[in-house]
Structures are given as C-alpha cells and as structure tokens.
C-alpha cells in the first residue's frame, strides 16, 4: 500500500474529546440548575419540614430506647429501623416532585423548554436525595453521642458504613418515587403507588426465606435484604452496583413516561 499515509490531525483528538466534556459539563450545569430549583421548591413547602421532623423524632425515640441496653454494638438496630422509616416517609417526600407540576400545568412548560427529560428527572431525583442527605445529616448526633458515652471505645466504622448504606438504599426508593410521581398527577395515588412498590420490594423475600432456586432470585430482588451488611461495617461492591441498577431502571422508566406524553 504505497502512498497510503495516515494523516494525523493534531487537533482531532482534542475536538473529539472537548465537545464531549463540554457537553457533559453543560448537561450537569443545567441539571444542577433544575435540581436547585427543585430543592428550593421542596424546602419552601411545609412537607419537607414535617417529614424531617417526623424522621428525626422517630430516630430520637429509637436511639433512646436502644441506649437503654447500654451496648454500643446494638445500635445497628437503629439503622435497620431507619431504613424502614424511610419506606414510610419517602413516598410523602417524592409524591409531589412531578405530580405537582402536572397538576399545576407547569410540566408542559418544563418539557417544552430546551432541557431534556433526563435532566428533568435527574433534577427531581436530586431534590429527593437532598432531602435524604439532610435527614441523615440531622441524625449524625447518634455516632457523636455514642462515641462520647462509650468513652471512645465504640467502633464507629459500622456507623459510617450504615450511613453510606442508607444513602445507597434510599436512592432506588427515591427513583421509584419519581417514577410514580411521573405516572399520575394525583399526589395521593403517587404516594400510595410508591409505598406499595416499596412494600413489595421489601417483603418479596419473606415467603421464600432460606429456600434455594427461585427463592434465591426473590432474595436478590429484595431491596432490604442487602442493606443489612452495611450496618455490620461491611461495604460490598455488589450491593452498591445493585442499588445503582435499580435507581437507573426507575429513572429510565420515569423518562419513558415523560417522553410518552409526546406520542400518546
């Protein structure tokens, strides 16, 4: 192949890479803007505060009752229960995310503006996640006090993994909430659907406890089953992947529902 010379364009690689980075950056900027707008809107309604109060109060109640046992290692029960509380509280937080916009008719405005459905959905999701982080941050006094009360002998490792676990555990829950909120403009239906889905995913492994074969699959589907390792101080890569997959699936479905408005 005489004369076949590969011509290298010095700028080419740069051109290929730069727009991608710029695009990602722009995408993130817009998403962050939407997220900020959503967070502001969520925290300017009473719902965020009432749910946070409820959340903090229940954690406080359990904290005190487990404190009676006088054993720092028992506090993992608190985080098991925190996950259960989230199952009850999160539907109320997420129910209005998209449903409210549909009800007020502002969703059309948002969808016809030059933002993509993904940006809208991720923005809404971020608002819910911000609520979660706030709630978790407000409970950080638990490890602090445990450390104080045990004179520094308590192993705080499992506490931090429990918090990381709660964040990963709640991510698919919030995404499912976003999905239900995109399906209906009725907030009550959105909350009920969300709660029902949580409950199903929570109890799905109950009738199959310990069995092999199909039961193994159900156990793998169950969201709560995988959470418990986190409270024992162990972070498993596979569990993180699992929660992220659920989150992605629920967000993808929300995007499809939003997109379907254009062809339905």
């Amino acid at each position: 192949m005489k004369g076949a010379v590969t011509v290298l364009h010095p700028g080419r690689a740069l051109i290929l890479i730069r727009p991608l980075w710029t695009r990602i950056y722009e995408w993130l900027t817009v998403t962050a803007l939407i997220a900020r707008r959503e967070i502001r809107s969520l925290f300017s309604s009473w719902i965020a505060y009432v749910t946070l109060t409820f959340f903090a109060f229940l954690i406080g109640l359990m904290f005190i009752s487990i404190l009676q046992l006088g054993e720092a290692g028992q506090m993992r029960v608190l985080y098991w229960n925190t996950a259960i509380i989230l199952i009850f509280v999160l539907p109320i937080v997420t129910m209005r995310l998209l449903a409210e916009e549909r009800r007020l008719g502002t969703l059309e405005l948002l969808l016809t503006s030059p933002v993509t459905d993904w940006q809208v959905v991720v923005g809404k999701f971020s608002a819910g996640f911000f609520w979660l982080l706030t709630g978790l941050a407000l409970s950080l006094y638990v490890p602090y006090l445990i450390n104080r009360f045990s004179g520094g002998t308590a192993d705080l490792g499992p506490y931090w993994t429990a918090y990381i676990g709660l964040a990963f555990f709640a991510a698919p829950l919030i995404a499912i909430g976003v999905f239900w909120s995109s399906v209906t403009d009725n907030q009550i239906i959105a909350a009920m659907g969300t709660f029902g889905t949580y409950l199903l995913l929570y109890i799905i492994n109950w009738p199959t406890e310990g069995a092999a074969g199909w039961a193994e699959i159900f156990r793998k589907i169950s969201l709560y089953y995988r959470f418990q390792d986190f409270t024992a101080g162990l972070i498993k890569f596979q569990d993180i992947v699992y929660y992220l997959c659920w989150t992605f699936l629920a967000l993808y479905l929300s995007v499809q529902v939003l997109a379907s408005r254009r062809w339905r």
Partner: protein, 521 residues
Amino acid sequence: MGNRLRGLPITKTLRRLIHENALPILMTIAVLSIGALTLRLAYPATPLYWGSVLGVAGLLLLALIAVEFRELLTFLISQKGQMGTSVLVSTLLLIGILVLIVYVADRREISWDWTKIKRHSLSPQTINVLKNLKKEVKVYAFYDAQSPEFPRVQDLLRRYRSHSAKISFQVVDPDREPLLAREKEVTGSGITIFEANGKKERVSFGGEKEFTGAIIKVTSDKKPNVYFLVGHGEKSPEDFGATGISNLKTGLERQNYIIKTLKLMTEGKIPADCDVLVIAGAQQSLLPQEKKVIDEYLKKGGKLLLMLEPDPAPSFSDWLDQWGLQTNPGIVVEPENNIIADAAAVFALSFRFHDITRPFQKAQQEAVLFVTARPLKRKSQVPSGVTVSELIESSANSWREGELKGAVRKDQGEEGGPFILACAVEKTISDKKKQRTVVIADSDFFTNGLIANLRNGAFAASCIHWLAGEDVLIEIPPKEDLPSRMFLSRHQQVFTVVWSLIALPLAILMTGFIVWWNRRG
C-alpha cells in the same frame, strides 16, 4: 373451522363476553401467573399444581388474543402502538442488561471492611493458605436455612472463594437437599464438609480457624501410615481368610492410607513415620521390651488403636489402668437386639457423641456388630489429664458372663451393663500435644468375615481416621467484638432525651414555620 363456529350463537356470546370483560380477564391472568409462581415455590416437587394454574392463565391469554386479534393488530401498527412497543422492547432490553450486571457483580467479592477488628476480613494466615492452594477444594456446608448461621457461613465461604478460584462451595439446608445430605452422610445442621482429591474432612460449626485447618488437611499430600503390630496372634492385614483384615486394608488404601505391618520383636523400634499403631487383638502378651517401646512412642504423642479380646488373650490392664479403664475376664452378653441369639454377639446401637461417631448420629438406627467383646468399664477415678469418651456401649440389660460353661445367664458376681464397647482416650502430654488412643473391646468385628455387617467397616475406618487426624495448629485470634459499654449519667440521659426528642424536632419544625411565614408575607 373458526368461520363455521363464528355463526353459532354460543360462540358469539362467548366472544362478546370476553370482549366486554377484557380488563378483568387481563387481571385474572396476572393473578393466576403470580399464583402459579407461588405454587412453584411452595410445591416444587409437583409441577402439576403450578403447571395447571399456568395453563389456565395461558388459555385465557390465548382466548383474549384470539378475540381481540384485530384490535390488537390495529393498535400495534398505529403510531402509538409502535412507540409503545419500542419503549417496551427497550425497557425489557435494559432490564436484561441490568440483571446481567447484577449477576456478574454478585459473583465477585469486592468489599471494604470498616470495622476496627476487621471482622469481615480473613486473617493473613488464611489468605496465605488460599494463595498457595494447588488443588480444587469442594466445600459443602449444611446449615438450617432459618438459622443466623446460614448467611454467616455463606459470607465466610464467599470470602474464601474471593481469595482462591480453587475453592467452590455450596451452602444448603439438609432438609431441603436430603439427597446431597445423604450422599455426604450428614444428618443435621451445622456440618461443613471439605473435599479435595478423595480426602474428606468434616467440621462441626466453627469458623475461620476450623475451616482453614480443614483446607490444610484435605489438601496436604501426606499419606498417613498405619502400622499393624504382628507376632502375638493379632489379626493381620495380609490375611485374606475370614479372620484376616485384608478387606479393611483395601478400604483404607483407597482412602489414601498406607498400611504396613510391624514386627516389633525384630525391628526393635517404631518407625518415625508411624501415624497410627494398631494392636488388633493380640492373643499372647507383649514382651516387656515391646511394651516399653510402645510406651515411649505414646509419650511422644503417638496414636494407638488397641483392640482387646476376652481371656485368655492379654488384658493390657496396666495400660487400661493409666487411661481410667478396667477390665474383667469373660465376655459381654447382650440379650437386647440379639436376633441371632448368639450369646457372644453384641449388636450395639448406642452411639455416644464424638468426632468418631459423627457419621452415625442417627441414634438407635445404625449398629455395629461385635462378637466376643471383653467387658470394659470406666474406673470410678480417671487419672488427671485423661479424658475418656465412650463411643459405643452395650445396653443396661447386658452383663459380664464370667464362665462360658453351662447355661448363659446372669449369675452372682457377674456385673451388669452398660459396658464400654469402644472408647476414645485422650491424654494431655504438653500444651500442644495429646496422646490419642482408641480402645475397642473386640477385634473380630472388622475381620473379613464380619466387616461387611452393619456399620462395622465404617466404624473401624472412622476410628483410624480420627487417630490419624493431625491437629493442624493455626493460630487465628477469635474476632470477638470488644463490648463497649455505655454508662450514662443522669445529666447525659436528660440531655439525650431533650436533644433528640424535643430540641431537634422542634428546631426543624420552627425552620419550616419561618419559611412558611416568610413566603406568606
């Protein structure tokens, strides 16, 4: 045929019925499918149950499609239908990809242990063993699926596998996998079996220390040497006759043992590679010099399988005395379960709990047949440092028949049972060394003529296996969480309640109120 049927009024009514109730029928199909799945889980052995339910659901679906065929087709070719289908297909595709990702991720063990004591990590010793593993090790753990031990063992073995691809494992409930449990001779929960090229090791419960020890044992290339003492009328592994024990030899060799005979009179010492010494029913007394050599051997942590015979065979009472045992002339007569009505035959069903008897834990369901057993009893005072564990005993109705002349019945001076038919004796020599001996009251039970009876062969092999078992000493410190107690002063208690139940919730509520107030203004 469809066209001909279409004219019939009954078909028309049916079609209308289905058409008007499409939604309820669809829901019924969904419910039936879930029901079928539940039945599949509840009765996996009878596919008829879930199969028939699923069949009904399938028939309903077919009927629905048949009736609504035209509507369905119209919908599918419409723009809505096309978009919907493409979304459905892409969603299913995505679910498939995600399931695959989760499946692949689940087979990896990448984890971060954030506990202070590294509770979830293997010790460096274990990791070292696993890195140098050359053989495939198969692990079967049998645990009750309801017990908290089940996931614990599963996690532990998963960690083992993450360090070596040579490890493969199964954690199963023995009740749910009865065939596997039977194959591995497991009758209860809490047994873990390690297998590597023909070698097998059982671990009862236990954790990392025991598991790693078992892996070292099954993968070691060492073949245990079993020496049979000869020269005093003992049963010989070279003897193929009915009173020989060549069958036992063949069986042991198949399990990786090397069987040799030992003429102590000519050789004068016990070879250094001797793992187990067997005295299989000596008929004449050992020379004092021989006894001395064996004594030396035992003092260095030697393992001995001593099988007795009734008088006039030697009683070995000087040794038995050291081990907290005593014996009398005569034989054990067992009237219970003695179906062959032979005074000398003892059907023994009472297995006591021990490592040796673990394969025979089905109480009163398995038996060993002894013939002419020497009466053996535990002394009231067992010397310190010695533990005697009965393995099999005769029943309480058995007795010592002193004179075999005349009628066989319990006479005056003939003490009653139960008698020890086999026992394991452990004597502590030093901190790490133990002398192990198994004493069996009979040596006929494992001869070629009797070994095939009941569990005779398995019991003999189990005794030798226990004696040859090395104590793999690896020091893995136990991972117990140091309890960190919390004692709250009155002041701290009040503070906690005020802070977590009143101050913090109230502060959040106040913030909400202020936000609401400002917005209102």
